[in-house]
């Protein structure tokens, strides 16, 4: 049982923009900071914009930022949207369909177990992943984000304030 690369990239992008606050970030910048494929990132960012997790502005000075404050976005919500086949096994795939698929009880149990998994993630917000000024400094350093005056980590706040305080729109 594992999460896909797709949702992993989605969460990494959310953490990146969450740390940057209101300042827009480009796909290229996030891809480079995380050392991941720009194309793969593009796809998941498009979905996250459509789901309303991020705000996206086109054009030369375009980019993305969080659509709401990080304490409003739960990890469970993100994973539920980015993992449409959550909690399934290969036995349900058309090309590998199990002969017992119609009568097997495993699927119902897997669904129940997956719900238990997601409920844990429902209790965690993006703000929880980024909380704490010292923690933010370390994360920013690892991502090579420059510390701008008035930015999240520089403002020493946490949660909602951490990501939005002091930045100019």
């Amino acid at each position: 049982m594992r999460l896909t690369q797709y949702s992993g990239y989605g969460l990494r992008a959310l953490m990146y923009v969450g740390l940057k606050g209101e300042e827009l970030s480009t796909i290229a910048e996030i891809a480079e900071a995380h050392g991941i494929s720009r194309n793969h990132l593009m796809k998941v960012v498009q979905q996250m914009a459509a789901e309303g997790f991020v705000y996206s502005r086109r054009g030369k000075n375009g980019g993305i930022r969080l659509a709401s404050s990080p304490d409003q976005l739960t990890v469970g919500e993100v994973v539920r949207k980015l993992e449409p086949n959550f909690g399934v096994a290969d036995c349900m795939r058309a090309d590998r369909k199990c002969v017992l698929v119609g009568v097997c009880r495993l699927r119902a149990k897997l669904r129940e177990a997956s719900e238990a998994f997601l409920r844990v993630l429902d209790d965690v917000s993006l703000a929880d992943l980024l909380d704490g000024p010292a923690h933010q400094l370390v994360m920013r350093e690892l991502l090579g984000q420059e510390l701008m005056p008035g930015s999240a980590a520089a403002s020493q706040g946490t949660g909602r304030q951490a990501c939005f305080a002091g930045s100019t729109p």
Binding site: R12, L100, V124
Partner: protein, 153 residues
Amino acid sequence: MKLTQHSDFGIRILTYLGLRPQSQSTVGEIAAAFDISHHHLTKVVQQLVGNGFVTSRRGKQGGLRLACSPREIRIGSVIRALENDFHLVECMRRERDCKIAPACRFSDIVSEANGAFLAVLDGYTLDDMLFGSARRRHLDRLLIADLRVSEAH
């Protein structure tokens, strides 16, 4: 997020053996019944034997059987045994894969969620999957019918 093919096949093997408590089954027979790769199945069987879920006897009268009653085989422990290289998220596979891995809290949260996932499956045994004699007959018919079809080809 999905169960790997490895554990999917593992559950299928145990289901098959659970339906035939009195006889020895072969990998070939199980592969034919489910119409899946013999080679891949052999690997999963080895692991099930290694983990004490299945006994394997060599020789002409040999074959595979459940090592204990289906009531004693917890689905959670099967999944745990078969997914022992458990990297729940891509970034956990290789530390250097994700730059923020040293500070990231996500992997701890996913591990906790995984514990909740397995705890649910620990509440069910192989017997729960097979329970009821009508159900057993139904499962049995499906497997045997499929075996006949694949032999005819």
